[in-house]
Symmetry: C2
């Protein structure tokens, strides 16, 4: 960043550029710097770290956020960050933020999360990145209680950076009247899984199809996890890394298998 | 597994059920147990850990592999494992294998990999799982040099299991005439990234679109990485974990930020 220049902040998400969560995040980021939005033109929840390699990609400039350059894109969240970096921005962003997701990305959901894939795509490029999610799936959810924490976290990341290869996965509890958030907790990802139910239905042509549904099952009683933080009305902050190697297992298997 | 029962082995992939790589893997797994195949009906490369939550899913039984129950599915690799486990199998598989992918899944590609997402989906369910990839993108690639290693690795996993929360990401160098594979190396994921090029084209209606292309840039000179192993004609075996928390950073940030 040149002297006198405001930080450049790239905003993306996975619920689409038209969602309430991204509008809230953009309004906050405008306080901190020059904002550019590149986000999917349709919901991309559960896209994980998908990228588009067998289809053409398109983007269009849209006028959605006052005083902010914004582009909707036909691709995934990871595609959006790639297109922003390679094609739309004239300098590297000082910060990449993703969200605010309508729904939780705690525990193992980090693997399925389109929100976090935008952040991790930036991390691969050694750009500081944070993904924000609210544990409320309502498309009209109340994001007001997240503002102060988002500003504090992003200011801190802008000032101090983040270790290489790390992004932050930040989850907020649902807003509860009369029960303000107790604070923030640095956490580890809870062990858990989604217990699927596949609902079998018949289509109008009498052919069977399935809907994938399910509920989260927590398998972790630790009080140092993101699940615990959310259940106790704290904001959870998990440092997430791009290196998926299990280094402990590496030494164990090297001894065991040789 | 009941006494006298053969191990149940679930096979999936991301290049589709019609690819040469999965056929090779199925033929090997038949030597070790009872095999069921549930794999996408179309190529799903680069799908990351995507799941299908806004569209119906369909599957059909197909007769592609002699003596093996096989289903093609409209979803992603992770969907296939979910459908297998919840809907198609009458007992938990003793082993889940994915691949053999036509193309490399070393380094940061593990995040984009549909092959590894099928394995990791099984790992979330505490099932032993291995993803196999050949560093050769040719749809008619030669897989013959992989057989002996795949059988040894999967036998070992069937006998000894894997630590909870861990799957193996196994990559094979491309077959080179007269240069047999030197052996296997337990490795860590190399630090690297894909340097994108977005090719701009015009469609027949004169509207601009982009193709996402790129090449891998290795940023890691370590001789303990998967990239090094492949470049030196070894099979790379990386233990990959579902927990993406960076525990080192957790302590560092806790001190630094509080």
């Amino acid at each position: 960043m040149k002297e006198g220049q405001r930080p450049l902040i790239l905003v993306s998400n996975d619920d689409s550029i038209n969602s309430k969560g991204i509008a809230h995040l953009v309004s906050l980021m405008k306080e901190l710097g020059e904002v550019v939005v590149v986000a999917p033109n349709s919901p991309q929840s559960g896209m994980g770290h998908a990228i588009t390699i067998t289809d053409p990609l398109r983007y269009f400039e849209v006028d959605l956020f006052e005083g902010v350059k914004a582009y909707e894109c036909s691709g995934t969240p990871a595609d959006c960050v790639k297109i922003a970096k390679t094609h739309l921005l004239d300098r590297a962003p000082d910060l990449v933020v993703s969200g605010i997701n309508h729904g939780s990305n705690t525990s193992v959901s980090v693997l399925y999360s389109g929100t976090m894939s935008a952040a991790l795509e930036a991390t691969i490029e050694d750009l500081p990145a944070v993904g924000f999610s609210l544990c409320d799936y309502d498309m009209d959810a109340d994001f007001s209680h997240t503002s102060e924490h988002i500003l504090q976290i992003t200011r801190q990341v802008l000032e101090r950076g983040l270790p290489k290869g790390i992004s932050l996965n930040v989850n907020f509890p649902m807003r509860m009247e009369g029960e303000p958030i107790k604070g923030r907790k640095l956490c580890r990802q809870a062990k858990g899984k989604w217990k699927e139910a596949l609902e079998e239905r018949m289509d109008p042509l009498n052919r069977k199809y399935l809907w994938l549904t399910g509920h989260y099952v927590n398998q972790d009683q630790g009080e140092d996890t993101d699940e615990w933080a959310i259940a106790n009305n704290y904001v959870s902050v998990v440092p997430v890394k791009v290196d998926m190697t299990c280094h402990e297992t590496l030494s164990y298997l090297t001894e065991e298998w040789n």
